[in-house]
């Protein structure tokens, strides 16, 4: 065992970064180009906000009355959908790049989760702050609400933070699952995944209809409020995230 010039010794001249470091490296990779990860989501939020603002002001200017019903605004939902789709795209492109940089699939997946959790924290912080600004300014003096909507931007601080962050991570987990499926089985896999989701949805509708339990379903949502719904969504979120991990572990990176 004279290990002096064995390849093991040769290779040992290169230090292997710790697992934490490797995961962090992948997370950083997602932020290497700040435009798509940081600038673009805010441009979209800003645009949605602008469109709402124009509508609010034009109504307010013509009626000179406080707006009604804007607290039911679902405008911010676009952002959640956008992040879900962005997760799929990010995984498709950064996966093969990270593999080209000799990252393991494990480190890639965990690093991606870290990157999106950071993104979610940043998003939640600003979103919550904006909801309070709308509260403090009485909806910009017009009773206009976009961020201080009844779903996520009302109630005590912890509820706002929890619902926003939870909903964000739920969208990301679904996106990560879809991204992993796409990376591994390409479009065929996405069709199959879409099929499974459609079957589950149709099954739920069928069961609810056949058992005449729609009032109970509606009542459940009302009773749970967003906080409760998001808390329940943590289960499918975890399931998706775990399945996504195992799907990705066997995904080839071909050119």
């Amino acid at each position: 065992m004279t290990a002096i010039s064995t390849p093991a010794a040769l290779a040992d001249t290169v230090a292997v970064p710790s697992a934490t470091q490797r995961v962090w490296n992948v997370a950083r990779l997602h932020f290497a180009n700040r435009f798509s990860m940081i600038a673009l989501p805010w441009i979209i939020i800003g645009f949605v906000y602008l469109v709402n603002l124009v509508i609010w002001v034009s109504i307010f200017a013509s009626t000179h009355e406080q707006l009604t019903g804007t607290e039911w605004s679902g405008a911010t939902m676009y952002i959640f959908v956008y992040f879900g789709i962005a997760a799929v795209q990010a995984m498709n492109l950064t996966f093969r790049f990270a593999m080209g940089m000799s990252a393991t699939r494990r480190d890639y997946y965990l690093g991606t989760v870290v990157a999106f959790a950071l993104q979610g924290l940043l998003f939640t912080a600003v979103y919550t702050l904006l909801s309070y600004i709308e509260d403090w300014t009485q909806g910009y003096g017009m009773n206009a609400h976009m961020f201080s909507n009844v779903y996520m931007g009302s109630g005590p601080l912890w509820e706002r933070v929890f619902t926003t962050f939870g909903a964000f991570m739920f969208c990301f987990a679904l996106g990560a699952l879809a991204g992993s499926v796409f990376v591994r089985w390409r479009a065929t896999g996405l069709y199959a995944l879409g099929g499974v989701v459609a079957l589950l949805t149709v099954g739920f509708i069928a069961v609810s209809t056949l058992t005449d339990s729609w009032p109970a379903v509606g009542g459940w949502f009302v009773e749970m409020r967003t906080v409760g719904v998001v808390a329940w969504l943590l289960i499918p979120m975890l399931v998706s995230a775990v399945i996504g991990y195992f799907v990705l572990r066997k995904a080839p990176s071909r050119t």
Binding site: A11, T13, V16, G100, S102, R105, D107
Partner: protein, 310 residues
């Protein structure tokens, strides 16, 4: 384990199938450390698939792979010592070369930023242009720069210079050799431009239809065949009973490529008034891959299918 030339890469019985296409067929191979090995073969012969399975980018159907003595798949210890530069590398949308060079040091411990900067200069690469907008040659330069400046103990270049002009290719060869001299490492270079790289290669592996048909030092590979030139009748007498790799004739003259001749046989040929000429690596590979294709009767449809995939 006392052997100083313990292989960096050891592959045995490696088989990889895509549907009913066998891309790698029971491949056995060992790559010795500290050398530049050429992995040569036709389009769709299995070069890329072999490198992808060795680097854990794709999964083998059966067989054993050891890199630095360990299984490479999902093995950070092994993978962090590997740099695999491939022709079809994908980059995230909106990425510019500067983003790639910013990420690379996180993944390659030996990354030399000064060397990278010098290479960017050498290849006149616009680092601030979106990668999607780069020319094919500039895109190749991004990969070449990463592969060189990473100084990974085991570096794969898979057709690294598609679209690079002759000048840029020469820069690549020069920088590669100079840096390899200063920082010895194991390099596996896959290319079609065999003549251009022939002088750099210390070892040659030829793959054809998913099988390794040659695995020897560049020197012994070049000696593995000789072209014999002379009058047709003398040639016919000399080659009778030998395996002929190639034959061409002009009038009464014939030129025949035969397998390795030992000293006695060489003398015999010279005594018969025949001329002996060396065979270039490229010619040798063209001849050997042609003859095996004929021998195995590989169907054209299978090879075109594979060719279009790679």
């Amino acid at each position: 384990m006392t052997d100083t030339a313990t292989p960096v890469v050891e592959v045995s019985g490696l088989t990889k199938r895509f549907g009913d296409v066998v891309a790698l067929d029971d491949v056995n191979l060992s790559v010795r450390p500290g050398a530049i090995t050429g992995l040569l073969g036709r389009n769709g012969a299995g070069k890329t698939t072999l490198m992808q399975t060795i680097t854990g980018q794709d999964f083998a159907n059966s067989g054993e792979i050891r890199v630095f003595g360990e299984h490479p798949v999902e093995n950070a210890k092994v993978l962090s010592r590997i740099s695999f530069i491939k022709e079809g590398q994908k980059y995230p949308d909106e990425f510019k070369p500067k983003h790639v060079f910013a990420c690379a040091p996180w993944f390659y411990e030996n990354w030399d930023a000064d060397f990278a900067a010098q290479l960017i200069d050498d290849f006149q690469l616009p680092v601030n242009r979106r990668i999607k907008k780069l020319s094919r040659g500039q895109l190749s330069a991004v990969g070449v720069i990463v592969g060189l400046a990473a100084r990974a103990p085991l570096t794969f270049f898979d057709e690294p210079y598609l679209g690079l002009d002759a000048v840029a290719r020469q820069i690549f060869y020069d920088r590669l050799l100079a840096d390899y001299g200063e920082h010895p490492r194991t390099i596996i270079l896959s290319t079609h431009l065999i003549d251009e790289v022939a002088n750099m290669l210390e070892h040659v592996v030829v793959i054809d239809n998913g099988r390794i048909i040659m695995d020897e030092s560049a020197e012994s590979a070049r000696e593995s065949a000789t072209t014999v030139v002379g009058p047709r009748s003398a040639i016919d007498a000399f080659v009778a009973g030998r395996r002929v790799l190639h034959r061409e004739g002009l009038g009464g003259l014939a030129s025949v490529t035969v397998e390795r001749l030992d000293a006695d046989e060489r003398r015999e040929a010279l005594d018969a008034g025949l001329e002996l000429a060396p065979v270039s690596l490229q010619q040798l590979i063209v001849r050997t891959t042609n003859s095996t294709t004929a021998e195995f009767g590989a169907s054209d449809s299978a090879s075109t299918e594979k060719g279009s995939r790679s």
